[in-house]
């Protein structure tokens, strides 16, 4: 059992930088929660406050209902008594100790006897595939290996809560993918609570059971990954999650002569007066080519199944696995991402097709309204 609760956490650094602003979140025991957000949004600061390496200027932190920190009640459990694991972004291995000594240190501090220590260290090194590094020093191993050692050092003491600060950001793409799979598998076997800080949405999406999207020190949405993707509750989350990012039409940006909503709102009378921004994901856009047999079904019975508009293709960006098409509809740019290579683009004229359910609407306060 290890449920972590943050209540109205504030952290203001010297110089008035409000790194964390009224953050409230409950991280249930056994979950793999990602703190996702752009660089500088207060993720590391939040993690350090949970670990006790930094203290909030206001609010409370609880573990299983017991106060870890509260300025008001004067409670501040020191880091070394919180029993959490933390993998630093820089790994922070101790340069004067061998890999085995690095891993064994936490066990030693727990007062575990030598024989058991040796057994545990061997076991964890086996688990992390670093058994052959035992006698080396941190400066003698690669970044990926250091990352494994940093993880092993924490796993050795099997903490109920494991905090990870962008642990994969220093690795190359292939290793990152492998480690993602390994971390997820590890969590599925150990079932401990993991809080994982990252600015990489793919990492957050692939591994987490819950994602907390942060921006400017505040929590923007806290939900399971697919919900974050399918139903972003506000404009910030909608524009941050997704790659390529969501296309937006905004009331504030007028196109050449056409209404800002391209007539989409006409089909949603309930939203017509509320919505001030409309979003559609590139992968939710289909293209219908002149002369192709796969024509979409146009509007029926007054409502609309699909929304169709003539578009002009500006350019095509093949990424290997997909084709990103940049096109213009009545002065507005849209990016579509296609699984299959677009054909018949000779004259650059296509039909842009979007399913009715695929639109995201946001009101004047940038909150989702559909």
């Amino acid at each position: 059992m290890a449920t972590i609760e943050l209540r109205n956490i504030d952290r203001i650094f010297q110089g008035g930088v409000k790194a964390v602003d009224n953050l409230s979140i409950t991280i249930e025991s056994g979950h793999f929660v990602s703190l996702l957000g752009p660089s500088g949004c207060g993720k590391t600061t939040s993690l350090r406050m949970i670990a006790g390496l930094d203290n909030p200027d206001g609010g409370e932190i609880l573990l299983d209902g017991k106060l870890l920190y509260s300025k008001k009640s004067g409670v501040a459990v020191p880091t070394e008594k919180r029993g959490m694991g933390l993998v630093f972004q820089s790994y922070a291995l101790w340069p004067h100790m061998t890999i085995a000594q690095n891993i064994s240190f936490g066990l030693e501090m727990k007062g575990i006897e030598k024989k058991e220590r040796i057994r545990r260290v061997a076991e964890v090194m086996e688990l992390m595939h670093i058994s052959d590094l035992e006698k080396r020093y941190p400066s003698q191993i690669s970044g990926g290996q250091q990352q494994r050692v940093a993880l092993a050092r924490n796993l050795a003491v099997s903490p109920d809560v494991l905090l990870l600060d962008e642990p994969l950001s220093n690795l190359d793409a292939k290793l990152r993918l492998e480690m993602r799979a390994e971390l997820k598998r590890l969590h599925e076997t150990l079932k401990n609570t993991i809080i994982y800080v990252t600015h990489d949405q793919l990492e957050a999406m692939t591994m987490s059971t819950m994602i907390a999207v942060m921006s400017g020190g505040t929590l923007k949405q806290f939900a399971p990954p697919m919900e974050i993707y399918r139903k972003p509750t506000n404009l910030t989350v909608a524009s941050f999650v997704g790659s390529p990012p969501m296309n937006f039409l905004r009331k504030t940006s007028q196109g050449g002569g056409s209404p800002w909503d391209l007539g989409i709102l006409a089909c949603y009378p309930a939203l017509a007066n509320k919505a001030e921004a409309i979003g559609v994901r590139p992968e939710d856009i289909r293209l219908a080519f002149p002369g192709s047999t796969d024509r979409p079904v146009p509007g029926r019975e007054g409502g609309l199944v699909s929304w169709i508009r003539k578009a002009k293709v500006a350019t095509v960006l093949p990424t290997g696995s997909e084709w990103v098409v940049d096109m213009v509809v009545e002065g507005f740019h849209f990016f579509a991402s296609l699984r299959d290579e677009p054909c018949c683009l000779d004259d650059g004229e296509v039909d842009m097709v979007v399913d009715r359910e695929a639109f995201h609407f946001f009101d004047g306060k940038e909150t989702r309204c559909n």
Binding site: F88, S90, Y91, W94, P95, F105, G106, G143
Partner: protein, 338 residues
């Protein structure tokens, strides 16, 4: 300043001292301003450093020659001259009867009333012991406090405490040694509250000397701690290590070389220190450097030179002995290598 003190005009000395302090304060202001402009870069962190020796290629021979030349002019030449001088009755005469070991281990050297060679000279041996204990303890105190200052500054970045420590630890550097010694002398000459009069004690010399070398030790301590940063210790906290365990198992071992440098450099300077001890040494607390001055005053050049060589010898043996014992490399404390 020393002269104005000697001829009994402390007013002039005070004016000279004030001017030097004023210049010093301006330097500190400039230093603080500069340091503010720079971000802190952690260059070692937890990843360990690697050595990347690169071949000098075509520059190998000239580089080697240059280093030989530098070593020759700055060390071998002067040291050789002094050695030869301490072994001859008359300077510059290279006849076999002119060479002697009298200044090293003779008894009752002719024309030097009451003086034995320095190995048999009670005064010199006593002064050597004084020099060793003063420089040794002062260096220990300065080195350890220097690293502690560094520890606190890194622990509490951007706080008033850190800023204050930084500047205060640098203050003794601004005051000329003699002025500093004079101030301490007048302050500690009489009993002050619980502090008894310290005049004429080794303790006073140790105290003043450790203060004099604190600026260097603190600077190198701050640099060394900044280079490693706070994370290794934070990682140990995560592992449940108490403060004592962290200091003993993480901070001190990582800073071993920096600590060694912070002790050895003040020790070397302390063994050679003159301007400070000239004011504070009294009968009974004479040190090797004051003995040298006395010999020069008497015109005992060879004895002065032999004593100087003794200082060099002591420094050499102790420094390299320490290096051997700790398995360290002194230069690495400056942030290079290993």
């Amino acid at each position: 300043m020393y002269n104005s003190f000697k001829i009994g005009s402390p007013g002039v000395a005070a004016v000279v001292a004030s001017v030097t302090i004023l210049i010093g304060v301006m330097l500190v202001a400039v230093d603080t301003w500069f340091v503010r402009e720079f971000k802190r870069y952690i260059t070692i962190g937890g990843k360990g450093a690697r050595q990347n020796p690169s071949s000098l290629g075509a520059f190998k021979a000239p580089a080697f020659l240059l280093s030989v030349l530098v070593v020759g002019i700055s060390i071998v030449l002067p040291l050789g001259t002094i050695i030869v001088s301490s072994l001859t009755w008359q300077a510059g005469v290279f006849k076999s009867e002119n060479f002697t070991l009298a200044f090293w281990m003779g008894r009752e050297i002719p024309a030097h009333p009451g003086q034995n060679g320095i190995f048999l000279n009670k005064e010199i041996l006593g002064s050597a012991l004084n020099s060793l204990s003063i420089a040794g303890f002062a260096a220990l105190i300065a080195g350890i406090s220097g690293l502690m200052v560094g520890y606190i500054v890194v622990k509490l970045p951007n706080t008033r405490v850190a800023k204050y420590l930084r500047q205060v630890s640098f203050l003794p550097y601004l005051v000329p040694s003699i002025g500093f010694a004079a101030a301490c002398l007048s302050f500690f000459a009489v009993r002050r509250g619980p502090i008894p009069s310290l005049y004429g004690t080794l303790f006073l010399l140790i105290l003043v000397m450790s203060m004099k070398y604190l600026p260097f030790a603190a600077r190198s301590g701050i640099a060394a701690m900044m280079q490693v940063g706070n994370e290794p210790e934070e990682a140990a906290r995560i592992c449940g290590a108490s403060w004592l365990a962290r200091i003993r198992r993480i901070v001190v071992p990582i800073q071993k070389h920096a600590l060694l440098t912070g002790i050895v450099l003040p020790f070397i300077s302390g063994m050679k220190e003159q301007s400070l001890v000239i004011m504070l040494a009294s009968p009974g607390t004479e040190v090797l450097t004051t003995q040298i001055l006395r010999y020069i005053e008497y015109g005992y050049t060879q004895l002065a030179n032999a004593t100087m060589l003794a200082i060099v010898g002591i420094i050499f043996v102790l420094t390299f002995g320490l290096e051997k014992i700790t398995g360290g490399n002194l230069a690495s404390g400056f942030g290079g290598g290993k």
